[in-house]
Symmetry: C2
Subunit: 148 residues, 2 copies
DNA sequence: AGGGTAATGAGAATCTTTTGCATTTGCCTA
DNA sequence: TAGGCAAATGCAAAAGATTCTCATTACCCT
């Protein structure tokens, strides 16, 4: 089933207009196999996950590929607080984030009311929206409980 | 009236629990005298504005002071796209931003509906909100007109 | 005015991301 | 299926933003 996985990702890359190279396939697999808890990964984290494998991929390539994936619409880049960007595979619908400033947990949500209001606000100001970013920072229930 | 200005900012600093040093006074003045078009400034921009004056202030100090101002609640730091943080003096109420990806223009808005929804979302997820950041990116009316 | 302490300046260091260039690889064609 | 070429990669150097170190200076209090 690994070969099938690779076959599938190969097709995804071709469809995105990208040559199906080994580094790109591996990075895409990492993103696709990530669990909910780590859907949002920095370039360095992707690099570390791939480092163990036989042929490791250079960090520069990780950055290059992730940027290409973003341009191709395969992934989204987020500039949360903390200096480094994080990436996530685009699957399902657009969503925004709420994250815990204590433990770093990231949760996703969709709110039609907010989406709608944003459209109105842009229109009121004469803007054509190209993108938007909404992140709520707070302390999650678990971190509130464990009073460390 | 310059002396009065300085006197006022001195009080502000004292109230914020910060020693009234010359660098801090000058940086605060820069922020207070900024026009709408440049309310949101990077550390480097503040540095450049102060560079001209007789006794210029080191960039490291600008960063230190802006961070202290942030901690004291005097300014807010924004991580818009583009690699570097921008700061703005806290005056009036909380607001969010809509900015033009072509010309860099930044406009502010307040939307009670969105603020309210954010509170609800945080509650639904069991979070205590500490902060939030909403930025709409788009193309302003002027940039849409001038088809460059 | 004098002294103790916190703040500053300058440059080095750090951290993240990008770039240059020689080498390798995927892909298309004969 | 082999050959060749443009695109992609790895590595190291560079760049850009921010922080840190440490010697020197400036506030503030008495
Ligand atoms: Mn997400
Ligand atoms: Mn603002
Ligand atoms: Zn938490
Ligand atoms: Zn514009």
């Amino acid at each position: 089933m690994v070969s099938k996985q690779i076959a599938m990702t190969t097709i995804e890359l071709k469809e995105a207009g990208l040559k199906a190279t080994l580094p790109r396939l591996k990075i895409l697999e990492i993103l696709e196999s990530s669990t909910d808890a780590q859907r949002h990964m920095s370039a360095e984290e992707v690099y570390d996950l791939l480092r163990g494998q036989d042929d490791k991929i250079g960090l520069a390539t990780i950055y290059r590929v992730l940027t290409q994936f973003e341009a191709a619409g395969l992934v989204t880049r987020h500039n949360f607080e903390g200096g480094h960007a994080v990436f996530e595979l685009n699957q399902g619908e657009h969503h925004d984030h709420i994250l815990c400033v204590k433990c770093g947990r990231v949760e996703e949500f969709v709110d039609e009311t907010i989406e709608q209001r944003q459209q109105n606000i842009a229109k009121e100001h004469g803007y054509t929206i190209t993108d938007h970013s909404l992140t709520i920072y707070g302390i999650c229930g678990e971190c509130q409980a464990g009073k460390v």
